[in-house]
């Protein structure tokens, strides 16, 4: 079971709590995490990554174990602490605008 923390606006939209727990089969990567997240919360489709290109939206970033993983390949395995659920994956809205 991995843990994902959503930004506040997406918690409201999805009606999920502050931390979401997801079961991932296979490698824990950006792609597999978002696939599982969107399968469980379909209203989040398009809000974190583009519907078609699957590219990360520009003002969202992914942090794993205090490291910015936003620009890593979508299939790069996250650190073991994320995969084990010891640490949460943080999806963070950029601090920009008002």
């Amino acid at each position: 079971m991995i843990r994902v923390v959503l930004p506040p606006h997406l918690r409201t939209l999805s009606r999920a709590g502050g931390e979401v727990q997801l079961e991932i089969v296979g490698p824990v990567t950006q792609r597999s995490v978002l696939d599982a997240l969107e399968a469980r919360y379909p209203m989040l489709r398009g809000t974190i990554r583009d519907h078609v290109s699957l590219q990360r939206r520009p003002f969202l970033r992914f942090f794993a174990c205090a490291e910015d993983w936003s620009n890593e390949p979508q299939d790069a395995p996250y650190p073991a602490a994320i995969a084990s659920g010891e640490e949460p994956l943080l999806i963070v809205g950029a601090i920009a605008g008002g």
Binding site: H9, P42, R45, A96
Partner: protein, 395 residues
């Protein structure tokens, strides 16, 4: 007794203002979708309890919301056919957020680029829905004007969307370029007598018309003159801010252009300027009285560099002659130190016997005139910046 429901989209959520027939007593609900930009909300004229809302965010993209009970509750209509209407935990699904440009060969001319600020071609990129226009005949049919400019249609209550691609593909698309607010398709007007005739307007491309339900389109910008573009009389490239019509006379159009207030009496084939004695003819909104198709309203704004009223005095101007002769309306409006703007979709009229006129400001005020503009009262004063105002007249 009749009543009104005013749908207000703001930078930080949606608000619904419920007023009595006298438009003196108001109940305010909201914010709905708190913290999100609500570019536009509009109710179906066929089923007034059906309301569509465009919820958007620079961070999180586009979400379409729908209410079937007059705005009391909302849901995202998108659910793939054959699947449960909700996901685990009872959550609705999100297919209705999906706006994908049509680049299929079947539509004839898949179009991938438009003119960019530096004169180069730039890819079409979906950003948000600016305007939602429900059909006059079917509550499940609704049009969405989007940025980057395109027109989408849903025939299943907002569940799924497909582009009416002939608009971008009709030929002038590569010449369209963004205005300062982005390359938005902000105006959608459906001829109530002939649903196959639709007018749309784009900043900064101009106005366009289809007479066959979106299968083919033509620019309707003859007579527009824009000295700030390379060819002031170009077929496309004009920064149209808003267009309005009266349902009883769908061939008569009124336009607030970047500068200039314009009128067409032949469905946009030819325009003439009707700015007349306006103190400035820059502005964003324009609308038509519910019962008198020759009475129109604008809110003059100082200039394209200074988006606020002249001399700090907020004024609506009314013409009872379809333009040229304008009357200043000031009763109840700020007399000094007012430096708000009124954005292009932020004016509306109701259909009560004494026509009500409404507009919202970037300062968060929504003003109502229950007497066709003679006097004004703020319904609310301190909302987030108002992006859009629509009104429903209810039995």
């Amino acid at each position: 007794m009749s009543k009104v429901r005013v749908l207000v989209g703001t930078r930080k959520g949606a608000f619904i203002l419920a007023g009595d027939g006298a438009r003196k007593n108001w109940e305010v609900s909201g914010p709905h979708f708190a913290g999100w930009e609500i570019y536009h909300m509009k109710g179906s004229s066929v089923d007034p309890n059906r309301i569509y809302a465009s919820q958007t965010s620079g961070w999180f993209g586009q979400v379409i919301q729908r209410s079937d009970d007059g705005g009391k509750t909302w849901f995202q209509p998108g659910t793939p056919p054959g699947e449960s209407t909700t996901g685990p935990g009872g959550m609705p699904k999100g297919e209705s957020n999906k706006f994908v440009y049509d680049s299929s060969a079947e539509t004839g001319k898949p179009l991938t680029t438009h003119l960019w600020y530096d004169g180069t071609q730039h890819p079409w990129e979906f950003k948000r829905v600016w305007h939602l226009e429900p059909s006059h005949t079917d509550p499940n049919t609704v049009y969405a004007g989007v940025e980057d400019a395109a027109l989408f249609q849903s025939v299943d209550g907002g569940t799924t969307w497909h582009e009416l691609a002939a608009l971008r593909g009709h030929g002038t698309g590569p010449k369209w370029q963004p205005g300062a607010g982005g390359m938005c398709l902000h105006t959608v007007l459906i001829d109530k007598k002939n649903p196959n005739r639709i007018y749309i307007a784009i900043s900064a491309a101009g106005a366009f018309r289809t007479d066959d339900g979106g299968k083919s389109w033509k620019p309707i910008n003859r007579g527009l003159h824009s000295p700030y573009i390379p060819d002031p009389n170009a077929e496309v490239g004009h920064c149209v801010h808003h267009v309005a019509l009266h349902p009883s006379r769908p061939n008569v159009l009124f336009m607030q252009k970047h500068w200039d207030v314009m009128r067409s009496d032949n469905a946009g084939d030819q325009w003439q300027e009707v700015s007349g004695n306006l103190p400035t003819d820059f502005g964003f909104v324009i609308d038509v009285h519910a019962h008198d198709p020759e009475t129109i309203y604008v809110v003059p704004i100082k200039s394209d560099g200074e988006h606020y009223p002249l001399d700090g005095k907020l004024r609506v101007y009314r013409s009872k002659s379809g333009g040229n002769e304008w009357q200043e309306l000031s009763k109840g409006l700020p007399e000094k130190n007012c430096y708000v703007n009124v954005l292009r979709d932020a004016m509306a009229v109701d259909n009560l016997d004494s026509c009500g006129v409404y507009f919202g400001t970037t300062g968060g005020q929504v003003y109502c005139s229950p007497d066709s503009g003679d006097s004004w009262t703020p319904v609310v004063r301190d909302l987030p910046a108002v992006l859009s105002v629509e009104v429903q007249t209810l039995p």
